[in-house]
Chain length 214, copies 4
């Protein structure tokens, strides 16, 4: 099995992005799966073009994108991406799309096809706080997750996809008052490793097992 | 114009639900629109049956459901409901659906068809903190919002629908330590009134004006 | 019984200070006690000079100063003021004392001589969230509380004194994201009224009843 | 120079106390100072007896006590301890003192005599979030800090003393929802090391340099 793991470059005036810093620390093999690491730009649309190039180059079985969610205090595995963008600040190319759809012909939302509950559980079992999240926001993180799941649903249906948000790194918040959560990048990397281990061990699409309430 | 406004009954061991307590305080007419108030049960599925009965009885132009989001500190107008439920606690009939879809034949998600941005803005303009939210959770609040938008999309396409989450009432958190947000029910009612005023003045579906980034 | 209640004027670029706005809403008599209301400047030192003038003019039995603690979500009754100031922003006269004592010949700290636990309990009993706090900060709020208790301990030993911090008013945080607590000024005023009622009914110094652990 | 560093044993049903776990990771020498590590019991009064025994045994120049402050997100260096205890839960010997003084003949409060601002700054300079705190609470942490400064002021005036609160360790909060801050114990230990380095390099009492505002 091959797993493509992407991390964004820094944005919003930050010197680093803990997402890619942590991705860089990952081993080259996790739970028997080969790990391919790619940095992607914090730019609406372009982020997903870079993901698709990497898909075509590496032909992975799974794609996990990773981004920073400043203020969150745990590994948060995203359940759903929505067909909506609304940017509070400009991206790294100066784009600031407001109150609009991402894809005219896309679903209103796509659910992650990675085993999100197992990813959360494997972090927790190994001592790393983790939670399932039901909003990836309306910025570039949701954008890349939505576009990834749009493209896998249409063109690469054999590929499972998903997204993880990570806390600030400690060095990003040294001058904040108490109350802003952060982890060392090495802690974030451990969380990603346990989440990816769950992917490697449990790669079937959990959504096919879901029944309805009635 | 007629606007149906629903509020849930108390759940989770609480003596009141600030949602319906606030709904009860609303005037019978807001911004020229007639207001019909209905209490609905905090029960998966049944909540929406009660909404549909009220739709058939009152034939409203818009439906706004209101629920409690303990811990939030402002009026939060929900943008999207997802086809997913996962109940942390049992509902008032003892149901606790876990990790499942709401409707087998439903969309992954539905966007509110009420003018959510105008609703937020009208609260803020009148001094009531309000925000757009991108997750209604995975409990009965998301359930009723999802089922409302499912039924309006399929059977009542002339009706606009949406959902608002409100903070705890002050009397619910008197013994909590500092750090748990709350408002008086009368403040919550003011927020609802400004949000509904925006609906009355701006009832077209904003989603039809949304373009895509590309 | 006569109770002097003070509130600060606005500072830090805010249009109002919810402390004095709430004080203005208080009735002229609470629990049988006469209420005298005075606005004081958000200026180190001068705030307490204004308090002392009002003491000399009105000869109260108790003095309760009230200030804003942006971010807190309940009525917080302060237990202690410390002989220390460190101003994050300049006061309304442009002073910004850093890392210094307030009074060379003062105690390291003074405890409130008002019945702080009864004040908290009476708020809670009447449905208003309240808590005891053990830090009044290092800005003008702590300054006036410290100077009040310094002067009552040295010159006006028959007068009981204390301080209450109150949340932001709703209109101060309308444009903040969800997560910043606030109350309507009328809710804050209710909390102050219940706290003052406890003072009127229970004016003896609770500190004289305190024993030691050993 | 010799610095005695203490950490509490686990309490409140927790399997570990990150305070002593981090203390154990400290090197035996920091900034040229010898480090002596002692575990102390989470018991009112007894905690300080253990500190005094260690003072008599090791004759340190400085004493730094370390405790857990669940919910805080950074190294918080305490400025002040107050003559007051009020225990929300029983300590490890079943004592639960309520609303009482610690020492009948003690000051209302004592300020830390370690260089607290330099300790915060050295953490921040090295990428570890840190803040000055003005309340050590009313439980055993405040108790040991108060008793330490009481005894150093009366019997060991050549010894500087202070207290640091640290966040939860990650393994303590794995099952909490997002929103509860935590660090790995190794991150906490880094913060302690930088704080202690500042003590070693800057051991004079900062309080002697403090002037008054007037």
């Amino acid at each position: 099995m091959k797993i493509l793991v992407t991390g964004f470059d820094p944005f919003g005036g930050q010197a680093i992005n803990p997402a890619f810093e942590a991705v860089k620390l990952l081993p080259d093999s996790i739970g028997g799966a080969e790990i391919v690491k790619v940095e992607i730009p914090t730019v609406f649309g372009k982020c997903a073009e870079k993901v698709e190039q990497a898909i075509n180059q590496h032909n992975p079985d799974c794609v996990l994108c990773v981004g920073q969610a400043g203020g969150r205090s745990s590994i948060t595995v995203e359940k759903v991406a929505i067909n909506y963008c609304d940017a509070r600040i400009a991206d790294n190319d100066g784009n600031q799309p407001l109150d609009c759809k991402i894809k005219e012909d896309g679903e209103n939302a796509y659910f992650a096809t990675l085993p999100v509950k197992a990813m959360v559980e494997n972090c927790r079992k190994n001592g790393i706080p983790a939670n399932l999240s039901f909003t990836a926001g309306t910025y570039v993180c949701n954008d890349v997750m939505y576009r990834l799941l749009y493209m896998t649903s249409k063109k690469y249906s054999h590929i499972k996809g998903g997204f993880i948000h990570v806390p600030f790194a400690v060095q990003q918040v040294t001058n904040y008052g108490d109350g802003m959560a952060s982890w060392e990048v090495s802690t974030i990397a451990k969380g990603l490793e346990y989440a990816i281990e769950a992917i490697a061990h449990n790669s079937e699409d959990i959504s096919v097992h879901m029944g309805a309430t009635h």
